[in-house]
Amino acid sequence: MAAVAEFDSVGLRYGTGAEVLRDLDFRLRTGSFYFLTGPSGAGKTSLLKLLYLAQRPTRGRIKLFGEELSEAPRDDLPPFRRRIGVVFQDFRLIRHLSAFDNVALPLRVAGAADEDVEGPVREMLAWVGLADRASARPPTLSGGEQQRVAIARAVINRPELLVADEPTGNVDADMANRLMGLFTAMNRLGTTVVVATHDVGLISATPGAQLIRLENGTLVDPTGTLRNPPGAPRGKS
């Protein structure tokens, strides 16, 4: 099966500090569901940044969607970013835009006409339970509501890769289950999902998901299934 992401001896350091990620070698199979776990400071957020192209590796190679992007010109990156949905830990909603406009942003950036934006955005807001809060601005929303707007924004474009950093950290158990249901549904439709979380209950409630564990910036992959996933070509060492 094709890999949506391939990491080859990837390392990352910020400035002149020590490496926060070291020797990462793994592949994410297209259409799979992954949980990224590890203690605080293990490098989960940094790994996600590499995945959603917010950071370049300081060494090694990263292939996304079959393209080598580690040193790709920055002008080449936007089309790849549009294929990735990201749920940030701190939501990253634009404060002066309404919930509707925040969710609509990826569609507008992709060039959708206004008449093609209205329906999908209303539908998505209804799905995350915020149909009546469409015109509310983020500062007037609760943490959980902001989280749901952020998730709606991440999935509105039906991304091929969905990356979420603690997506259920600010919502109640019922909403967490609904959101995971959304992620699972998207995964069934072919989206590769990577969720960074500490929530063991969430992991156990998602059958078939694979675990990626980071410790001190390195990948714990004792069985080698991340490096050479079942069904993937086994040419890599």
Partner: protein, 289 residues
Amino acid sequence: MFDWLFVSPAERRLLGAPRFGGPTPWVIAIMSFSIMLIAATGLALASTASLMSQAIESRYTLQVPGGAANLDALVQAVRSSPGVTSVEAVPESDMRQTLKRWLGPAAESADLPVPALVDFDASAGANLTALQRRAAVIAPGAQVVAHRDSVGPLLHSLHLLQWVAFGLVVLLSIAASAAVVLAARGALDTHRFTIEVMHGIGATDLQVTHLFQRKILIDALVGSLAGAAAAAVVLLLLASGAALAGELTGGATLGVIDLIVLALLPFALTVLATWVARTAVLRSLRKAL
């Protein structure tokens, strides 16, 4: 190419409250006002220099330092010379009247030697050496003086002032551009978070730049036109106002082409500001991933 001018209300909302406005239109208005006045002055000087140059190009004076007893013969000699198109003797009374401004009643004294002057126009092929030789026979010491030689330094000064005006227009345009760069950087800082989010979801640098570009275009256009309008009022007052102003400006007029140039200046300043803002924003964005 110009689709960035017509952004949707949703795109306009991305930059939130009009913080980019602020002092930018005012700075550009002041620059536009100054540029218009200086440019108008420069163009008027050019026009004056051109008029003066044309007027004196074929103008000469035959002067006899000690005066001429037989002025009529001298005028006749000049008139009959080939190439001379018009002749006019300057009356001695006019000369004394002029001298009176400096010398007072002493200018009326018969002891004061007053030169004889005969103004004439001559075509390009006129033989002035022969004319002077003929005049010298009638009035020894007679000498032909070209007006362009005596007014040359003044014309040179006028040309110099034109270039000074042009230089000031360029300097003010550079200053306006620097103000726009600062405003653009400030706007980028204000909206850094929005830009990061937009980049994160796949917006290109051009998409982000167009938002700022349109806003600076509006600010620059409003500022330029306001400054130009104020300058136009001042110029109209100067042109049609007090007699003193009229005397000072003398023959300085603005032609149709000059007026067209002045009318285009605010738009040129707007285009310059927009281009500078676009370049500054693009350069800043390229520093991010």
